[in-house]
Amino acid sequence: MIHFEKGRLRSFFKQWQLQSMVIPGIVWMIVFCYVPMFWLIIAFMDYSIAKPLFQSPFVGLKHFQDFLTDERFWRSIRNTLGMSSIKLLLGFPIPIFFALLLNEIRRLAFKRTVQTISYLPHFIAWTIFGGITLNWLGEGGVVNQLFMMLGLQDREILYISDPKYFWWITYFTDTLKETGWSAIIYIAAIAGIDPQLYEAAELDGAGRFQKMWHITIQSIRPTIAILFILAVSGMLGSNFEQIFILENNMNIKMAESLDLYIYNMGLVSGRHSFSTAVLFVRSIIALCLLLLANYTSKKLTGDGIF
């Protein structure tokens, strides 16, 4: 609590201009962040949006029991973890490789051009990127034409409607869209390495790959560690804008992530309380993961994420 001693109160009013800058921000946070947190209470009620909050009856853990016994919920957990794991295991190293290779380009103008082009897709809307994906993977699309020309398949495959391809589609499109952008942080870390280290290694007769492994990778290890921890802590999340545009009735079995499940149950089917119960658990687990990530980061690098 703020102690309202006389002097403090007086100096508070003396700073009224600065206070009037910050307080609207705090009010905004209370309305748009803290009020929704409070509304999580409807997870324990049979809430109807037409009625005032406390006219709806409390039902305890009913909705929690409901979703824990819902097969579709567990399916969405499986899909979320499946897509996140592929992205983490196969996707996480790619920007690092890209940064390492880009670093070996000696012509500055070429290097800069490649870099600029590589992060362009990050700024393109998912409507566009998803639209191209749907078109290319569809009937008579570019992917089918290309694979048939190369002899990889002998007839058309409807990639987008077949659930078994969905996780891979999210992985590939995400990699295409975000690799360049994610590499920026590694490129910056590499640029900060003391060039004397490389010169010393050259004197010792180190080759290109030895330098890459012993100097470059070792120097950017803290960056890699922090980003990896953050990626792990975000595993319950999914790229909603990506999945929402690629998903359809045919691939939903593998496409419905936890966030999409919450959306479908809450806003499409109108089961607000039920969905909020799922959200409640999701938010708490996400918080735990984030705190764990912060703790791990502190242990490893001596510095927290926040």
Binding site: F32, A125, N135, I184
Partner: protein
Amino acid sequence: MILKKRRRFSLFEAVNTIIMIAICFITLYPFWFVLINSLNSPEQAMLGTVNWFPEQFSLASYSVVFNDKALMHGFLVTILRTIVGTLVHVLFTAIVAYGMSKKYLIGQKVYMRIALITMLFSGGLIPSFILMTKLGLYDHFLVFIIPAMYTFFNMVIFMSFFRTIPTSLEESAKVDGASDYQVLFRIVFPNSMAVLATISLFSAVYHWNDYYQGVIYIYSQENLPMQTILYKIVAENAVSFMQQQAMAQFGARLPSNSIKFASMMVATLPILLFYPFIQRYLVKGVMIGAIKG
């Protein structure tokens, strides 16, 4: 330095260069594909073959897109939300951040804690949806502006930047009798143009590209942003309605693909055109963010 010999172009470098060129090609070709297919004549675009240049140049698809009232209205909504949303976000977040940047501000630590918790825990989709409904923001243009007025991340970026400005500048203005607001607008903001530009660009790109808010909160046609309409065209094949209109108008049967591609092109073109000039600022932004992290 003398020891450094000029090496020849090695095999590794040749392979590496090829990889880099391939990456550029993979990145750029999809957009080229959309462009040429939107410019193709309807008959050609229907075939959907992979091409390098339009076989028969035609602007028919664009004339359908530009004659589509819904899409053009969506375009206006997007432009409006991009301008208003960006201005409001940058002004509001920067002003809050300036107050927060003063460590002598009474309650600063409490305020920071309140702000930090919002990053760790959130109510999420359903409670936010109920809140917007109760506030009367559901299906209202302001749903694009007010909830996007502030983000913790950008506030921290502004705050740490403002702290790097030498206090002597501000103090001398204060001695001359300037108020905090005058100091902020006449001294701090003009010295922070780089960070203001960066955050503005990020905010503008967000407002331009976002389709999700429109899907969730907008019901009536008049407030639908272009990207949400595009989402319906791309994912739900809402193109057939436009096609019917086009058929009535032009008599010809335009394949839905070329209309899709033309609308996609109209929606991305501003980003593609500005991108070469603004990308420097965007990278700068992520650097400032990363240092603070």
